[in-house]
């Protein structure tokens, strides 16, 4: 969007707010923090980023939306293989947790659906269950994709940093 002249300024629960900017003025990166953005450690980290010319635009749970003016050069938060691996592992942890959560709720719905004798509600439970299984699959796929990336980096790490 920043390429088209729209800078992200706010995000919450699937709603993005943009403000007009010059075309291609900013580069954006999304990062997952270990702690909530209000935590002292996160605030120190964001303050550090600020000092290097990176602005935290908005946050959503532990995700932070960061931006840097294009004129300041390329925007890579992680330059070494090790820190890339650590970053991917953090994100993968979230996907795996979500996968199990969706799976548990899907199974729960399935059991209710099977044991219920009210046809109309039974239908809601069973279709919800299918949807949740699909979501489980999506998160499983995301996790597998990331774990492949991590494995590739780890084998690369054996021969170079």
């Amino acid at each position: 969007m920043a390429q088209k002249g729209w800078a992200l300024i706010y995000f919450s629960l699937g709603r993005y707010v943009f403000k007009s900017c010059s075309k291609g003025e900013y580069l954006y990166r999304i990062e997952l923090l270990k702690n909530s953005p209000k935590h002292l450690k996160s605030r120190e980290y964001l303050q550090f980023l600020e000092e290097t010319g990176i602005t935290c635009v908005t946050t959503s749970m532990n995700w932070v939306y960061l931006r840097k003016p294009v004129k300041d050069g390329p925007f890579n938060l992680y330059s070494g293989i090790d820190s890339k691996i650590a970053h991917y592992k953090r994100v993968m942890g979230i996907w795996i947790a979500l996968m199990f959560a969706e799976f548990a709720v899907a199974v729960f719905n399935l059991m209710i659906g099977i044991n219920l004798n009210v046809p109309r509600i039974k239908w809601i439970n069973l279709s919800g269950c299918v949807l949740l299984f699909i979501l489980t699959g999506v998160f499983a796929w995301l996790s597998i994709d990331l774990s492949r990336k991590i494995k590739r980096l780890e084998s690369e790490r054996i021969i170079r940093e």
């Binding site: 550090f48 290097t52 330059s79 820190s83």
Partner: protein, 110 residues
Amino acid sequence: MSESNERGALTEAVFYILLSLYKPLHGYGIMQKVKEMSSERVDLGAGTLYGAINTLLQKEWIEPHPTSKSSRKKEYVITGHGREAVRTELDRLRELLTNGAKIAWGDPDE
């Protein structure tokens, strides 16, 4: 977890961060200095640098440098332990260079 890594090679990022801190610098200054020393080759990511600074502070290879109140940016400087680590690494690199040059470049004396 008590395995000692004290004698392992330093990462390129850590080696350059330590070198840049023979004079006190703040985070952004380190990034600029490292880029300059390596003729733009090593471009430290801010996230990577932040992690490295915290680890180096814990190991006491660098320490916070007291700055004037007008500046809010934290500055850091290398410690005695840090200088020692750089010297140990230089010895290791010299060994690599000597052996590498002898075999790969061919030493006319051999």
